[in-house]
Each structure stands twice: as structure tokens, then as C-alpha cells.
Symmetry: C2
Subunit: 122 residues, 2 copies
């Protein structure tokens, strides 16, 4: 077995998600399976950096990897991860709503963001 326990994997998943670039990668892959060469142009990071981030998400079991000729395709393994992110947003929104009246405005803008709706195909 790769993981010792659910608890370890739990931390690994949360760790993988606690980085802005990796969250953007998930957002990007919400569209569906993509090869690295399609991902790269969408990010202002070096190829090695993106490769490493994708690997971290893969090791956490969030992404699935498929080699197709000279390319590598990545895709979301379980769309539940988007529910998770939306729940984090819900938590964040409650905080902001409590603090400022701007909460409602932010809530509105979130509703139109990438994670606001169910992932199309995964």
C-alpha cells in the first residue's frame, strides 16, 4: 500500500489543494482531459514547475495520468474534488459575509466562477 492510513491521505489531499497554482490547474482541467502541452500555455510558469504541480496532484490521487504516445494526459479522477472546493468557498463566504456587506457582491461573483457549477466532463 502506498498510504499508511486515511488520515495521511487526508493531509496529502489538503496539502495538494492548498496552493493557488494547483487550484488553477484543477479549474483548467474541469474542462476535461488535457495534455501538458495544452496546459502550459494557460499558465505563466515554467514547464518543470507545472510538471511538478501536476505530479503533486497525481500523487495525492486527485488527478489521473494517461500516457498517449509522446504526450501525457491528465484528468480529474473524482469530480467530488469540486464539491470539496465549493464547500471551502462556502466556508470562506460565510466569514466574509459576517464581516462586510460586500459579502453579497462576492457571493454573486463566485456564483459565476469556474467552480460555481458542476464540472462538465471528467
Amino acid at each position: 500500500m502506498t498510504q499508511k492510513s486515511v488520515s495521511d491521505l487526508r493531509v496529502k489531499i489538503l496539502d495538494a489543494l492548498s496552493d493557488p497554482t494547483r487550484l488553477e490547474l484543477l479549474e483548467f482541467l474541469a474542462q476535461g482531459e488535457r495534455c501538458v502541452c495544452e496546459i502550459l500555455p494557460a499558465f505563466q510558469r515554467s514547464q518543470s514547475t507545472i510538471s511538478k504541480h501536476l505530479n503533486i496532484l497525481h500523487e495525492a490521487g486527485i488527478l489521473e495520468r494517461k500516457i498517449d504516445g509522446k504526450r501525457t494526459l491528465y484528468r480529474i479522477k473524482d469530480p467530488l474534488v469540486f464539491d470539496l472546493i465549493r464547500m471551502v468557498d462556502a466556508l470562506a463566504l460565510r466569514q466574509i459575509s459576517l464581516l462586510t456587506d460586500a459579502g453579497k457582491i462576492l457571493q454573486k461573483s463566485l456564483h459565476n466562477s469556474q467552480f460555481g457549477a458542476e464540472a462538465n466532463r471528467c
Copy 2:
């Protein structure tokens, strides 16, 4: 405003949750409001370390802090955080279940863990 956006707070929340000690602190505080002096004996970490972890959780808006005389009381701000953690576990379990038959056993043991049921009082 302390936070620039929901997106920043999202990362901050996930970051706060991606540490084993902090997850244990939440587990401990699932029982209800506790002062640091009650928390300390339950953890094999120095007072300064625990104080820092509590502060990180507080800054992420996960814990609420109340000063009562010479003590400081911490409590879970929003029990939604436990739903979040349970969802991470669900994600973790699906992975383990796919890999090994032990998945079912682990699933069973998780069901009896601290995060398996709704938080009592918060």
C-alpha cells in the same frame, strides 16, 4: 478588509487544514470550547507551537477566540468545517477502496472516528 478575495481565503483555509497537528486540534475542539491550558496536555507539542497552530486556524477564520480573564478560549466557528473534512475523507476512501480490498475495513474504522459524526456542540 483583511482578505482580498474569496480565492485568497480559500487557499488560506486549505493551508490551515493541511497540517496533521491542526487537524487534531479541530478534532479536539469538536468537543466544544476549550482554553489553551486544556488543549496543551492533550498534545505532545510545546506551548508556543500549539499557540501558533491555534493562531493559524484563527487567522483562517476556522476558530473563534474569546479571552476570559487570564485564559483564552478557542472554539470552532462553523461546524461546516467538519463536513469539509469528512468530504476529504470520502475522497481519500474512494482512492483506497479502488486500490485494495482493505478499503472496506478502513471505511469501517473511519465511520467510528471523531469526524465520522456531526460535531456535538460548537
